[in-house]
């Protein structure tokens, strides 16, 4: 297993939005999902997840509701809003450009 990497500054928002695209989730679920999808590359400093979630909520990109969880406890589920979806598209695109540019430099360097 590779060493867990620190998240690039600002990419946490992108990952959270992308994760929520599938379905509404609670905080723990989001952390788990990101860890699994990245095959344990990203170990989310869970303390920083909640401030990020709140920030996104204040921006209106995600929206929170208290619902019963799978084990029947009250949990806060976050869901992507319409503006959030648009934002995600924009961020994915700009990420693609960034990654492509970095790849180009690395190849030709």
């Amino acid at each position: 297993m590779p060493q867990p990497t620190d998240l690039l500054q600002g990419t946490l928002d992108l990952l959270v939005l992308r994760t929520l695209l599938l379905e509404p989730m609670h905080g723990w679920g989001i952390a788990q999902r990101i860890q699994q999808s990245s095959q344990n590359t990203f170990q989310i400093g869970q303390g920083s997840l909640y401030p990020a979630l709140h920030r996104l909520e204040y921006k209106g990109w995600i929206q929170a509701d208290w619902k019963a969880s799978e084990n029947n406890r009250k949990a806060k589920y976050y869901a992507l809003t319409r503006t959030g979806k648009k934002q995600l598209e924009a961020e994915i695109e700009s990420w693609g450009r960034l990654a492509g540019a970095i790849a180009l430099v690395l190849e030709q360097g």
Partner: protein
């Protein structure tokens, strides 16, 4: 965007409870623990691992709170509350800071509002930056003017201007209706207002048809007149008013802020109605003042060059003696208006900036001192997790709060000062009555106080207390101490400059007051009378009035001498002419140049006795000459010496206007020589002067005269009596009664005002600098209490301790004074045009100021110095 905003707004208003975050976090931890247990950990271990993976719960909670949209307000409120609590704990400190700022900002604002109109505010004309004043300058008239003989030639052929316009001056005129009034009527060319870019608020400008000889009588009235006479009735346009007996139609009302380009008072504008064809032929033509609007892209310099050929044309028309001394002048209208106050304005602004600098230095110094004594508190806050950013913001908040308080206090202080200035200032102090605190100036205050805040706030904020401060033993304040010392040195230097300026002006004013006028103003009551156009239309009626008045007044109670003149020295208006026009009979006229100006007055025989002007040769005018057909003249000593060097002037015949003896240029017999009298104002050089006798002939009189009465009674009694006598002859005649001492004193109004103003700043600056010095020295003493205690314990005497403190103070005072002296010597040259008989490097003023400053500074150090000598060694050593 909108949605984002709304969400933010919702959270901003509603907020979010802490419990929510807690619950969310608890859920997260529980889930993690459960997962860990399922992965095979013990319950204890699962809980521990979950806690480690999550990190600080409290920190998360804090961070979530910081994400809130309204968070910065929360911290701001916190910071402000904290600052205010601090100020209340230490009221002397806060009061000193606010008062210092009030003095600094208040004086700056007041002065700025005074100089604003002179230096910065745009003139009340459309696109006023493109307006210029155009004309000729000559030694006899240093302000540019034009002559009808060439003006129209210029108007037709000029290239650099969009338009050229003129006015021919302002004259008193009478509104002869019920409720008559004396007004100022200005006569202007038809294109005057359009060229200036001014349109009437109601009605219209003059039409072309109206600005010609014998055109229809029309007038534009000022806003004030519209208000006082017509109560702003729009129906005033089209009404007829009687001006000097002629029915005149009001065609428009001028804007409220309208002013004549030369700033004369004007209640009514009339078309100047010159006969253009006659003017073109005339030589030199009607005197006028010309103004023009530059074409886009044409500079003042270019315009001057392009006018060259036209100027040559005018020069050819000018009489020979003038040609070499006449120059072309084109300058911006603002320059024309403020020519003699611009320098004073800049000096004032500079001085007041020095005061502001001192005040800011003081506040910075105070804040640094406070910061140094709060080092430990800061260290504690820093250790408890306050970020550097947060501490800096706290420091800035404090200085902002102080600045705002200082700014508000300063603004109120400025309004007060401005009232004081206006009350103190002499009449006709250019623009002072227009000084006001408007929005722009409030903005200036705000900017000034914020600038102060940022400056000293940043200095205080750029510190982060080291951990060692926690021990309470470290002395980490040396760096700030050095900065504070420099601030105090700068303060002392700045106040040295202010004091030097004040002392120079005071010395100059002293010279001005104590100079010998060549006459006595004691017990002289002067009465200026100007007869109205309609009641006294002829010279006969004017002479008759004054002669009746003389009969009534001459032998009144306490009157020992009585004279009638057309003007009185030492200043103010009097007739003058060029020297070259004088011609001694039997000799050729002066061939080249104008020879400068010669003053002249029309007087009655007792003039010299009343004013105690010695007649040094001949016997002056006698009563017999009053009825003579011959013309008599008395010369001043300087004029006699110039006209008749080494000869006896008595009995010589003199023509006052160059040319053949005609009815208008009679031959005058010199009957006396009088001592020189100050006649060009207080500070200017004297002009040679001659006196003509006002005989009992109508051609010697006109409508204005000054009665000169020497009295043995108290002046107020004589004044009341004269007023009653004039009123008994004609109650409608306006009289202006003052003692001659008052008139002389009035001339000194402006230098006195300048001196008081600069003196006020100098004292304010000195006060602030002394507070600064006092603060630094007291801080020095407090900081070194321990050291002083040790010194005393090992045997230092009180004198030694005092010497230690004084030596420390002198290390600030001496360089400060020295620096200030150098700067003041370098800068005082700009004052030279305001000084009278005082060199800009006047040793007396500089020595006095240096002594005063050192004395006051030492006094300021004596207070903390003596408290240092009272330090009790046992107490001092035990502290900390």
């Amino acid at each position: 965007m909108l949605k984002e905003f709304l969400t933010r707004l919702r959270f901003f208003i509603v907020g979010r409870s802490h419990g929510e975050v807690d619950e969310e976090v608890r859920f997260h931890l529980d889930q993690q623990i459960e997962a860990n247990i399922q992965a095979g950990m013990s319950a204890e271990e699962a809980r521990r691992q979950a806690g480690i993976a999550f990190g600080g719960v409290e920190r998360t909670r804090e961070q979530c709170r910081e994400e809130r949209p309204g968070y910065w307000i929360e911290t701001l409120v916190q910071d402000v509350r904290y600052a205010v609590r601090g100020f209340r704990r230490n009221p002397t400190f806060s009061l000193t800071v606010v008062l210092t700022l009030m003095l600094g900002i208040g004086t700056t604002t007041a002065v700025f509002s005074v100089v604003d109109r002179i230096l910065f505010r745009s003139l009340p004309y459309g696109d006023s930056e493109r307006l210029v004043s155009v004309g000729l300058v000559a030694p006899i008239e240093p302000q540019e003017f034009m002559l009808g003989g060439s003006y129209y030639e210029w108007q037709d052929n000029q290239k650099p201007f969009v338009a050229l316009t003129s006015e021919i001056g302002t004259e008193p005129c009478d509104l002869t209706e019920n409720n008559p009034a004396r007004l100022d009527c200005a006569r202007v060319e038809g294109n005057f207002l359009p060229t200036l870019g001014v349109s009437p608020v109601i009605g219209r400008n003059f039409s072309e048809n109206e600005d010609r000889p014998n055109g229809p009588r029309v007038a534009l009235i000022s806003y004030d007149l519209w208000l006082s006479r017509f109560k702003k009735d729009p129906g005033a346009v089209g009404k007829l008013i009687r001006i000097d007996g002629h029915a005149t139609e009001i065609v428009g009302v001028l804007p409220k802020d309208f002013e004549m380009p030369r700033l004369q008072a004007a209640d009514v504008l009339l078309p100047q109605s010159l006969d253009v064809a006659a003017e073109r032929r005339a030589d030199p033509g009607h005197p006028m003042w010309a103004f023009a609007r530059l074409r886009p892209g044409v500079s003042v310099e270019q315009a001057k060059t392009e006018l060259g050929p036209l100027f040559e044309y005018s020069l050819r028309l000018a009489p020979a003696p003038f040609r070499k001394e006449v120059h072309l002048q084109v300058r911006s209208l603002r320059d024309r208006q403020v020519h003699d106050v611009r320098l004073a304005a800049w000096i004032l602004l500079g001085l007041v900036m020095a005061v502001l600098l001192i005040a800011c230095a003081n506040v910075t110094s105070l804040l640094l001192a406070r910061g140094a004594s709060r080092e430990r508190e800061l260290a504690v806050r820093s250790a408890l997790g306050a970020s550097r950013m947060r501490l800096a913001r706290q420091a800035l908040t404090e200085s902002f709060a102080l600045s705002v308080a200082g700014g508000v206090a300063g603004c109120l202080f400025a309004m007060l000062l401005l009232r004081l200035f206006v009350a103190m200032a002499p009449d006709g102090m250019l623009f002072l009555s227009k000084a006001r605190i408007d929005l722009r100036i409030l903005f200036f205050v705000l900017a000034t106080s914020l600038l102060c805040a940022v400056c000293f706030g940043l200095m205080a904020a750029m510190r982060k207390a080291g951990v060692e401060a926690l021990t309470g033993r470290a002395r980490t304040t040396i760096r700030h101490a050095v900065l504070r010392r420099w601030l105090v040195i700068a303060q002392i230097a700045a106040s040295m400059i202010l004091l030097a300026g004040g002392a120079l002006l005071a010395h100059s004013f002293w010279n001005l007051e104590k100079q010998n006028f060549g006459m006595s103003a004691e017990n002289i009551v002067t009465t200026a009378i100007s007869l109205g156009q309609t009641s006294y239309p002829t010279p006969e009626s004017q002479m008759a009035f004054f002669q009746r008045l003389e009969r009534n007044l001459r032998y009144g109670p306490g009157i020992t001498a009585f004279a009638i003149s057309d003007s009185v020295p030492p200043g103010g208006y009097h007739d003058d002419q060029i020297y070259a026009a004088l011609r001694v009979e039997g000799r050729p006229a002066l061939s080249s140049g104008t020879g400068g100006r010669v003053a002249s007055r029309w007087i009655t025989p007792e003039y010299f006795r009343a004013l105690q002007i010695p007649v040094v040769q001949g016997q002056g005018f006698t009563d017999e000459e009053l009825t003579s057909n011959d013309h008599f003249v008395v010369l001043s000593k300087s004029l006699a010496a110039r006209l008749f060097p080494g000869e006896d002037p008595l009995g010589q015949h003199l023509h006052l206007h160059n040319g053949a003896p005609t009815e208008n240029d009679p031959s005058y017999i010199v009957v006396g020589v009088a001592a020189d009298v100050k006649n060009g104002g207080l500070a200017e050089d004297n002009e040679p002067e001659y006196y003509r006798l006002r005989r009992q002939r109508t051609q010697d009189w006109d409508r204005s005269s000054v009665l000169i009465l020497k009295t043995t009674l108290p002046p107020t009694a004589t004044e009341a009596w004269v007023r009653a006598q004039v009123a008994s002859l004609d109650p409608t005649v306006p009289v202006d009664i003052k003692t001659l001492s008052e008139r002389v004193g009035k001339l000194a109004d402006r230098p006195r005002f300048e001196m008081l103003l600069v003196g006020f700043f100098a004292v304010t600056g000195l006060l602030l600098a002394v507070i600064g010095l006092y603060g630094v020295i007291s801080f020095f003493v407090v900081q070194r209490t321990q050291e002083i205690g040790i010194r005393m314990a090992v045997g230092a005497s009180r004198g030694d301790i005092l010497r230690l403190v004084l030596a420390n103070a002198l290390r600030l005072i001496v360089p400060g004074v020295f620096l200030g002296l150098v700067l003041a010597l370098a800068l005082s040259r700009v004052l030279s045009s305001l000084l009278f008989n005082v060199a800009p490097h006047d040793p007396l003023a500089f020595a006095g100021v240096t002594g005063l400053l050192i004395l006051v500074a030492l006094l300021a150090t004596l207070i903390p110095g003596s408290s240092a000598t009272r330090v009790n060694p046992t107490v001092a050593l035990r502290c900390d």
